[in-house]
Amino acid sequence: MSSFEDVRARLNLFAVLPNLEDVVRDDPEMRALVADTRLTVRLTIANGPGTAVRFDHGQCSVGPVTRKDEGGRAGGDGAEGAGGAGPTVRLAFTSAAHLNKMFDGKGQPIPYWGFTHLGFLMKQFTELTDRMAYYLTPTDELLAHPGYLAMNTVLTLNTAAFAVPVLLGHDPECVPLRHGLSHGTVVIKVLPGGPAVSLVCGASDVLPVKGELTHPSALVLLKDLPTANDFLAGKLDTFVAAVTGDVQIWGRVAMVDTLALVLDRVGKYLQPAATEAATPTAAG
């Protein structure tokens, strides 16, 4: 069974870091920052999991390391890869705790490949991750701004969704809950028009998807952005909200019950803030 630091590192890699995609897409300043960048930043824990952050001319995608991401290595230091998002910068972490320290803003990785791109790591990548941390570190004052509220809600919703497979796979208290999820898709959507996330539950895994998939087995509908924000921040009594209509649940309620138990565990790893945790200041 995974340790606390292992689970937290996986959450940072697979639930928090994918928010960079939204920051680059939705924040014009950040999009401009990487408008001319074609580069892959690969983060790897020794004897552990890793992920790749790919920048491609104003777009960002975060996902599992693929053979394409190995291109940088094949082509030499920082060389153009074979089909990946440009050259690869590799950031190594000696342990899960080492990676978590970086996300806490208290540690630095070891860049062992792609030294010629250290400038990107120190400037653009750090600015991006700082901005992500800003969006994930709400205060009442910040949340009073509609734009911030929307961004914080989107990122928190994403983090919650992408945390589900990590926790079901590695959190000792969530692993037994896996059998409580039948096949089907659970959509969590902010009314009236989104944002939304979908969780596709299969025989052996749960796939989180940004956006709303069709034909859900269960729907969790959040009345509006402020309600969604309170719901995701754990400020809402969800049992009461489900009755008053602030949160509407339809369909396979048992799936929602199980997911609620899983989501209740996110805070154990990412609080006191998805906030502090979301600060991968790569170059220190």
């Binding site: 969530c174 089907g184 859900p216 009594d237 009461v240 009755v243 008053t244 339809w250 396979r252 048992a254």
Partner: protein, 419 residues
């Protein structure tokens, strides 16, 4: 189309309750799984026979029966009179009342294989006590239970991952699938000499899912394995008890447990539960210290004696099974008429009903909501309960409501109101 109810007073009361009570209404009475909640009453103000009246004055034909206890009907005179007579004598006194013996004698005379009875308040009191007795009797640690089987709310009954449950709480429990004696055999092989008890409901009646009756020979095989390995066989008859057979549901399914837990139908709403057991388990039960402040209340015991006698007089299980068959058969015919498939599982006296046309259950939730708005109290997530108080008039009214509710579904395009 029929008029539909509104629930302004219930909703107002809920907001008030939520200020001072966690969840507003916690536990199995929480409206959270009632989908959509705005189609349901949250507070009841009175009940009579198979009907209750909510805080807004709406009248419902009740198919949840307070989640089981209401077996003779609300405000039953026979039970109330017996309770009132005992109340005049005393309720919680310095010693138990003789009516405790009377109730134990009644239960042991009714239930096949029961030689003694022990009283508490809730079903969960008895399922926990039964597991303690099994461990005391065998000197072994493990209890085998069924995936999705409900036995109450103690940590071991909820499972790891639920709030307030520790890994240590689950250490002595193994869950296996229903209707799978081979899985039980594997546990016995993997933990030789370690399994103290096997606990299950007479048939599988989880929430949110179809009920599943025991496969042919299932209980016989489980009984054989328990006997061969010295395992105590515990039946949780809390929900089914006296709605299938007055001799106990195990008798209906052709086996005799070592211990059996009863609650809901004993007292027609008066708080009382019972564990009954075989003579071989009696001295073991005596060794396990187990008690509660109000477990010797005489009024619920007197109510229990009267209720059980009424259940016998009315041949209650037969009456409830027949009503359940008529109800579900009528609903299936209506569903068919409107182009839907209504699936009915479990025993007719406590059927699990769902519209099978939509695996997400959203269609079924909308139909149950439409029925409830018209006065037939149907939940979509739990088996329903029949009572001896449901009448032919109730049946006809329910079917008329269901017909109108199906028509309402047709008028409302799929998914309208959802999302």
């Amino acid at each position: 189309m029929m008029d539909t109810y509104s629930f302004a007073r219930s909703q107002e009361l809920f907001v008030r309750a939520a200020r001072v009570i966690p969840c507003g209404i916690p536990g199995h009475f929480s409206p959270a799984p009632l989908v959509p909640p705005d189609a349901y009453p949250f507070f009841a103000q009175s009940g009579k026979k198979a009907h209750f009246t909510d805080a807004d004055g709406n009248d419902f034909i009740d198919y949840m029966c307070a989640y089981g206890p209401m077996v003779l009907g609300y405000d039953n005179k026979v039970v109330h009179d017996a309770a009132a007579k005992q109340r005049r004598l005393g309720d919680t006194l310095g010693c138990p009342s003789p009516v405790m013996i009377e109730l134990a004698e009644k239960l042991t005379s009714m239930i096949a294989g029961a030689d003694w009875a022990f009283f508490a308040k809730n079903g969960g009191d008895q399922t926990s006590y039964a597991t303690m007795i099994a461990r005391a009797a065998t000197g072994r640690p493990l209890i085998v239970a069924i995936d999705g089987g409900y036995h109450g709310v103690a940590p071991w009954m909820q499972g790891l991952g639920h709030h307030g449950v520790l890994a240590g709480d689950m250490a002595g429990f193994v869950r296996i699938p229903w209707n799978d004696p081979a899985a039980f055999e594997r546990v016995l092989d993997e933990h030789p000499g370690k399994v103290a008890g096997f606990i299950a409901t007479p048939y599988h009646h989880p929430t949110f899912e179809d009920s599943v009756l025991p496969a042919q020979g299932y209980w016989r095989r489980i009984r054989e394995l328990c006997d061969r390995h010295g395992v105590v066989l515990i039946v949780d008859d809390v929900r089914c008890g006296f709605r299938i057979s007055l001799r106990g549901s195990a008798d209906h399914f052709g086996f005799t447990p070592d211990l059996a837990c009863y609650c809901k139908a004993i007292g027609n709403g008066y708080p009382i539960s019972a564990l009954v057991g075989t003579e071989a388990m009696k001295s073991e039960a005596a060794r396990v210290f187990y008690t509660g402040s109000y477990w010797y209340q005489a009024v619920p015991m007197a109510a229990g004696v009267a209720c059980l006698a009424e259940l016998e007089r009315l041949d209650a299980p037969t009456k409830m099974q027949e009503y359940g068959k008529e109800l579900t058969g009528g609903l299936q015919r209506l569903a068919d008429k409107h182009g839907y498939e209504l699936r009915v599982t479990g025993m007719p006296s406590m059927p699990f009903v769902r519209l099978a046309d939509d695996p997400s259950m959203m269609l079924h939730q909308r139909w149950c909501a439409e029925c409830t708005r018209r006065g037939a109290y149907f939940t979509s997530h739990h088996n329903w309960f029949m009572s001896c108080a449901h009448t032919q008039e109730d049946l006809e009214r329910t079917l008329a409501i269901a017909d109108d509710a199906f028509a309402a579904l047709e008028k409302s395009p799929e998914g309208q109101g959802v999302g």
